[in-house]
Amino acid sequence: MSDVLLDVRHLKKYFELRGGLLHRVTGHVKAVDDVSFSVRRGETFGIVGESGCGKSTTGRTLLRLLEPTEGQVVFDGVDLAKLGREEMRQKRREIQMVFQDPYASLNPRMTVADILAEPLRAHGITDRAEVDRRVSQILTACGLSAEQARRYPHEFSGGQRQRVGIARALVLNPKLIVADEPVSALDVSIQSQILNLLQDLQGEFGLTYVFISHDLSVVRHISDRVGVMYLGRMVEVGDAETLYNRPLHPYTQSLLAAVPIPDPTQRRQRVLLQGDVPSPANPPKGCAFAQRCPQATDHCHQVRPELQEIEPDRQVACHLYEVS
């Protein structure tokens, strides 16, 4: 059994831009542009980046909720991008998703019991007693009581709803959970509860997480390894602690410099960025960050840097660290 559970290779997701009289394709929005990373069994891989950088699209493309334009998503030795519809549907049993908005991700017309039973039934577990048993088991594991299964989503608070969302993802006993901003819609006080729950469940069920968030401290707290995305590209990947303590890519450096330090006496060097994120419909020819990078050279504007392993378990896509 390989150590790597999920291996994403050169994943691309382009959205067609159509316009004009005949509704022709006039361009592409390169939401995910050649992203590669791998996730090991049992770890939490965090994906950070500002809004619009393609981290959610990456998550959805992994699960084929959006069809990848190009690239491979090798999950447990199988390339998901090549599976047929029904094969992919079967495979979903092993890869589940937790969504950002717990208010929108639960059908308001269904009771919690129905919501949780649905994945089971879809995968052929129809015996009533068995369904009931697993629903109450997973509710308890997620910090709700089995009695609450009869209720409707609107009778729960945001945090409780997100617990239901997590329970739904877990009820099939998956190997991998893609969590897309699972706490950003919640109050700060509830966020830590949900994060702790996710960590407890990871230990209990041996889960692997892909944790997508724009919140740097949340990602640091929960992740073993972190990938930083900018404009549809993965710019830096590394062990969470090393990456946070010693960011290499200029974008990561400026991103981390923006995190507030809860100590007013501490002085720090801030890296202030100029300009805006370029449009993903018309990305720069060279490095995506070159226009805003304080250390950019001509070479950066011309040639796109590849994500390279520059030290063990540390990959950066930046010409500054290129080994010749």
């Binding site: 589940q96 649905e118 739904r168």
Partner: protein, 298 residues
Amino acid sequence: MSQTQVPVGTASVSKKASVDSPWRRFIRRFRRQRLGMVALGVVALLLLLMAIGPAISPFDPTEPDYDAVMEVPSAKHWFGTDDFGRDIFSRVLNGTRISLAVGLCSVFGGALIGMFFGLTAGYYGGKYDGLVMRACDVLFAFPGILLAIAIIAILGPGLPNVVIAVAVFSVPIFIRIVRGETLALKNKTYIEAARATGLRDREIIWRHLFPGTISVVLVYLTMRIGSAILIAASLSFLGMGAQPPTPEWGAMLSSGRDYLTTAPHVAMFPGLAILVTCLGFNLLGDALRDALDRKLTD
């Protein structure tokens, strides 16, 4: 509703009461509408008459009585008699069954077909959606009654063909509203979540999209019944639906038209029956819409 936590181990009765289902909220809001309740009463009465009308009618609705031709309303003949001496009250009572059956069958048939195409077109989109919508446009291009007449011209006159004709021109309306609703629902995260958990397309359509569209369909369905009855009556009035001596309201109206100046009651009572029925269903539809309107609640 209150967020009271039921402690583990309390009686199951109190647990049941605390469940605030969408159905209960709908009932609560519907009962607040006085006009809606009246309309519901009218419709319930009509449905009752549909069931027991023929049993309680005092005379045979098709048996002529040449000793009592064109009598004005009296204690014996409550609504008077027509040109063949048939009791109009009995005929109106018996006509309830015909008119309602035609209205209900055609609209339910149209709604079922319309929902199927609306749900699938909205969910799958693409070329299939385009094809379905263009087909609707073609049907929409004809005024309803004209389309119905055209269908009758092809199929021939008679009540079963009226049902088909009215159903056919109800279909595109249902396709449109169901498709619109499906498009709105399709982008909800819980549909994406259903896909992510591995539900099949038909399960998503049946378990998530269909229940979501049912409220708008119910409203239109109720309101369409009124107009379907009206169209069916119009077709019979024009001689393309029920054939005499069938006690159909439209056909009765048609035969009473010749005596409007001399014996207005012959046309008036079937006309009133049509009016009350259409009004009842339309007001019920209004009330349902108000009670189901999510904008007022969410």
